[in-house]
């Protein structure tokens, strides 16, 4: 199986830059898997886990991301995340904070569509919170 080049960045730093076999991302329309030679795609992300398989037989490296985008083009996968936390370090407190920021944003905005989007995000994070 061929590999694809993954660059995983947040505004603060470059998190991950390696050749990997498979990445599972939480696209805003649903989770999907990217293997090498995936067709070009740009997708926005919803809060969730990014699972990176350097080798399919190994355990994945898992990060929690809040917002962002993925861009796949000629075997170059770029993940632009607003913030990312490694799964081992994720606590219910982190998620609580994230919910609170979304909530305050939702309270201040008057744009209906934006509000719906934020509420959707809050629900997703809450569902994840139960797991943690």
């Amino acid at each position: 199986m061929g590999k694809l080049k993954l660059d995983f960045v947040t505004p603060e730093r470059l998190l991950y830059s390696k050749d990997v076999e498979q990445v599972i991302v939480p696209g805003s329309e649903g989770e999907f898997t990217i293997l090498s030679d995936h067709s070009p795609i740009i997708s926005s992300l919803k809060p969730g886990y990014i699972k990176i398989y350097e080798d399919l037989s190994d355990e994945p490296t898992i990060y929690f991301v809040t917002d962002g985008f993925v861009d796949m083009d000629s075997n170059q996968l770029t993940i632009l995340a607003q913030s990312a936390i490694e799964k081992g370090q994720l606590t219910a407190k982190n998620l609580e904070d994230i919910i609170n920021t979304y909530q305050s944003e939702a309270n201040t905005t008057e744009n209906e569509a934006k509000k719906n989007k934020l509420n959707l995000k809050i629900d997703t994070v809450k569902a994840l919170q139960v797991e943690v």
Binding site: P11, S39, I42, S44
Partner: protein
Amino acid sequence: MPNLKELKNRQVSVKATQKITRAMQMVAAAKLNKAQESAQSARPYASKISTVMANLLSSIDGSSNAPELMIGNGKSDTYLLVVATADRGLCGAFNSNIVKLATQEINELIKQGKQVKIICIGKKGYDLIRRSHEEKIIDFISLKEVKSIAYSDAEGIGNNIVTRFEEGEFDICKLYYSSFKSVISQIPHAQQLIPLPIDNEIDSNDLDTNSSLAIYDYEPEESDVMEDLLPLNLNIQVFQGLLENAASEQGSRMSAMDNATRNAGEMINKLTLQYNRTRQAIITKELIEIISGAEAL
């Protein structure tokens, strides 16, 4: 003849000043390292997002329903200038260079009969601009409490700009900051944020090397992706600008304080020389007085 006591006092005070400037220089050097690091670690994200933006731009080229954030609203009557400076002084010409560039632009625009609005980031720039264009300043943001600039700070400013744009407060937005070239060279810089400046050269280069550009899949719809990505891009530009500014400020302060320390050193040498000469002159004078007094007897 200058008073000995006076000379001594001046020497002491210059020494004290030198101590302060030396300490400031060392603090600035330490902060510069940190600021440079964070500016560097933000670079991958910025370069990635601009690639993604370039891909997007080339694929929706020419379509008239592109979002206004990208192509502008077709007018150019009101300009919003975001002037980012430092909150503290004693950093050489750093603040005044940025303000000078912005002021030139302001005067130019006024001459052309355009409306100008200003958002100031940083107290020093605010103080300088307030003198000549107080009525044009619509907002002032201070980052004094912020130790190291986080993305959330830039996000707040970016959202502020986007909201104002959506409310039709301005047509064209430019960001003024100082880009960090080296410790001794910081160049004030203007960057257009809205509408997005389209670099035709880069676009066509990308098209040549990358044939898959036209057949991107979008998830969700293209317009939804654009709607999210454009403000994000703007935030990142602001973030990048602020980080560069922070590094420039420290670099500028470091070299300014280095100069000040050296000047103080020179001054101390001069004062010491003058002090010693005066002391000798006084001794000689007293000796002459004693000798001539003895001769007179």
